[in-house]
Amino acid sequence: MTDKDFTFTIDGASVTAQPGQTIMEAADAAGIYIPRLCDHEGLRHQGSCRVCTVKAAGRSVAACTQPAAPGLVVESETPHIQAMRKSLVEMLFHEGNHICPVCEASGNCELQAMAYRLGMVEPTKLPYLEPTRPVDASHPGIALDTNRCISCGRCIRASEDVDHKGVFGYCGRGIHRRITVNGEDLAHTDAAVSDHAISGGVCPVGCIIVKRVGFRLPIGARAFDRQIIGEAIEEKRR
């Protein structure tokens, strides 16, 4: 702790933060997991999924973008907030087509894992939007199925900021806002399998698929088959 560091609380636990840190960054360092989908290690914060919503000084904010402040009282795992988070995850499921049993990402998927963590175990009350977007399999090494896209923008930021390429971008507005690629299709971009955006585990769901390696890791031995999402962070505190 330097003399500029300060403390605040999350669900009553004292957390140390450095000036400029977000609530989520400080929480991560302290071993407190706040659910998230659009935020990803090493990428700039976007603040769009809203699954990280917390109450800070009584006001709902996104923990991934909200700066921590000395003495701030943050509520995270209250029943009310957890219910809202679950509702947001349900919205994402219903916005796309998610049929986990036949999905390559099953077991490694953060959306699926988040649904388990938040207790989404009953049928929901929402209708399905059932998108029918064509799958882009033009690239020799990569397939892109945006019917499962949760619009988290992680691929965009990874490609722009880590790969320095700009393979992906958003198009459209509102419910029609979609991920698109910088060309007619993926084959007409400079995307490479070795890109961080493609192979770095950046896509939280099963949209960006590297060809010929599917199911290499058997179901049952995958990331969230072994532990609940967020446990890796929570272990720091044990």
């Binding site: 809202m84 947001l88 994402l92 009350k125 459209g172 507005r173 509102g174």
Partner: protein
């Protein structure tokens, strides 16, 4: 063949290059470039995207991302003329159906289509700020008001025949001054001029005072006047200026928000038409107060018909030494204003989104903090104020804070412009002191049979007769100024459904609750309209609304469920009347009818179990 295509692509690239060069290849002016290309080519062709990308060092997908954000930019070819009929609920109540039928009949196309010869495209669009003369339409850079099936058919025939667009306004269009052209298209409908804005206003009196004052004293005067923002949120204007002035920075910026996108609001249109000098005076005073040399007027794309008029006023002010270097002869008082035209996106009225739009980005709100007064346009401290707010500020400098403070109520000082439309005899703009009751305003507007009033537009609240005693102002019913009147024959759920459709259309799509949640909220209301809802669905409406409000990222999402929540609390019987108890064994919110609709189609017969009249 190929040669011809190449030639065409070259010509398009030349248009794109010219548009880029006109801004000095400044990528922050991308929206201006895209608007110029759209105007010349009637769409944004791939060759233009490629050229802009190469010329500006951006990716094509980024440029398509920006273009696809705005309703008035198109990545597909459009007609030489685009007719955009306002399809707001007010226009529907004013006879839109018959107008639309006449136009589609005359053109032989429906909304969303273009005639085979590429002459005319027909579209519908949300409120274009002409609600007091609905049904209304935009046609390229002009507007048509108070349409009837006959006038609409005549216009469609005229355009189909390729006759000059501007003849629709006046055969002498070219000979009119810019302001005359505006008046030839739109009536200002000032029904009640007040003490501050719409009565007699001496020219430059406030600015002359301000030029002799220290910036700090200007801010102190605005704080003392009690002026609060007129764009909806009601933030104290003087405090906003003070915060921007206090930031360490090499540049500061004043932006006037003339996006006026809230359906039912059109008072800024009237100020821009009738009081443009007062507005620019206010911006110049704000600039002196915070130390800004740059100003931007963000004009909504729907108000393109005001562009030449406003540019002419700006030019006049530059020539008169009221803009530019050493304003009014004061050394170091330098300030100029550029006009940024929008392109059809309600969310761009949100100040962060507005700044994004001015920076050549998708019009998405920005993450706060930092707030615009800290780091706004291009990262510099920026004051964003509504048109009306800035006009008030100029008058306060002239007549003093005490004069202004004395008007209105304890929490809301001065006067306010109200845009009144819908079921009333005298739609138009009313300037009245804060604190007037809804009932008093309705009486002035000739709305005796009002049964419901939407205060503040879709993002505000709908109230019924039992609330007409309530006072307009921040102490009770806060509003940016829209007062939409509905008589007893109007269908409340249809209005709610329209407003939700509006929010779905206008959501930027950035965050989950607003992008997706509003779609589901609208579908939930559809269940009520179809008579498939049970009491449990009312709870569902409330829960979903609460989640959207609490988790959305900007003011669009945090207000979008208001039509539902305010009608639930003020018109509970409307919901009760269409709610049925859940049927045995079925999840109450499960709409079996729509679920089996596809199956009915495939089987080409009705359901044995669920269609009660199956036996007939």
């Amino acid at each position: 063949m190929n040669g011809q295509a190449d030639h065409q692509a070259d010509a398009i690239a030349a248009v794109a290059e010219e548009a880029a060069a006109a801004t000095g290849h400044d990528r922050h002016r991308l929206l201006d470039m895209l608007l110029a290309i759209q105007e010349r080519c009637r769409w944004i062709p791939p060759a233009a995207v490629e050229r802009l990308a190469a010329s500006l060092g951006l990716t094509p997908v980024f440029i398509r991302g920006v273009a696809s954000f705005y309703s008035f930019l198109s990545l597909e070819p459009k007609g030489k003329v685009i007719i955009r009929l306002c399809d707001d609920i007010i226009d529907r109540h004013a006879g839109l159906d018959a107008v639309l039928a006449a136009v589609t009949d005359e053109l032989g196309i429906s909304a969303g289509e273009t005639t085979a010869d590429g002459a005319v495209s027909l579209e519908v669009t949300p409120c274009i700020g002409l609600c007091d003369q609905a049904p209304a339409a935009m046609v390229n850079d002009i507007v048509l008001t108070s349409l009837t099936p006959e006038t609409a058919r005549h216009a469609a025939r005229h355009l189909k025949a390729g006759k000059p667009l501007h003849d629709l306004v006046s055969p002498h269009f070219a000979g009119l001054t810019p302001q005359q052209r505006v008046h030839a298209q739109v009536a200002s409908n000032i029904r009640a001029p007040g003490a501050v804005l719409l009565g007699e206003v001496p020219r430059e009196a406030g600015l002359r005072r301000a030029a002799t004052m220290e910036p700090r004293a200007i801010i102190a005067a605005i704080i003392a006047s009690g002026l609060r923002g007129c764009g909806g949120a009601g933030f104290a204007t003087g405090r906003k200026w003070e915060m921007a002035a206090r930031e360490e920075a090499s540049r500061r910026v004043v932006i006037c928000n003339a996006d006026e996108g809230e359906p039912g609001t059109f008072k800024d249109r009237v100020l821009l038409t009738e009081r443009p000098h007062l507005l620019f005076e206010g911006m110049t005073i704000a600039a002196r107060a915070i130390g800004a040399a740059e100003g931007i007027l963000y004009l909504r794309g729907e108000y393109v018909y005001l562009r030449d008029h406003l540019e002419a006023v700006l030019a006049e002010r530059r020539a008169a030494g009221l803009l530019g270097h050493a304003i009014l002869g004061c050394g170091g008082f330098d300030f100029d204003i550029r006009l940024q035209l929008g392109a059809g996106a309600y969310v761009c009225g949100e100040e962060g989104a507005l700044i994004s739009s001015c920076e050549g980005l998708r019009g998405e709100p920005k993450t706060r903090p930092p707030f615009p007064v800290q780091r706004g346009y291009l990262g510099f401290p920026t004051v964003v104020n509504n048109v009306e707010t800035l006009c008030h500020a100029a008058r306060i400098l002239d007549l003093g804070p005490d004069w202004y403070f004395a008007m209105g109520t304890a929490g809301s000082h001065g006067t306010k412009l109200f845009s009144v439309s819908g079921d009333c005899r005298a739609p138009g703009v009313y300037e009245l002191p804060y604190g007037i009751t809804v009932g008093e305003l309705l009486a002035l507007a000739g709305a005796e049979d009002a049964a419901a009033v939407q205060v503040g537009g879709p993002s505000g609240v709908m109230i019924g007769r039992d609330s007409f005693h309530r006072r307009l102002g921040f102490d009770d019913l806060a509003t940016g100024g829209a007062i939409i009147v509905f008589n007893g024959s109007r269908n409340i759920l249809e209005i709610v459904d329209y407003y939700l459709a509006f929010f779905v259309h206008e959501s930027c799509g950035y965050c989950t609750p607003c992008r997706v949640g509003n779609v589901f909220l609208r579908q939930a209301i559809a269940k009520f309209r179809h008579g498939h809802a049970s009491a449990e669905d009312v709870e569902e409406l409330r829960t979903l609304s609460a989640t959207i409000i609490e988790t959305s990222r900007c003011g669009l999402g945090t207000t979008s469920p208001n039509p539902v929540l305010s009608t639930l609390s003020h018109f509970p019987l409307v919901y009760a009347a269409v709610t049925r108890p859940a049927q045995d064994g079925q999840q109450a919110s499960f709409d079996i009818q729509s679920a089996i609709e596809t199956a009915r189609g495939i089987a080409r017969r009705r359901s044995f179990v669920y269609d009660r009249d199956f036996s007939q």
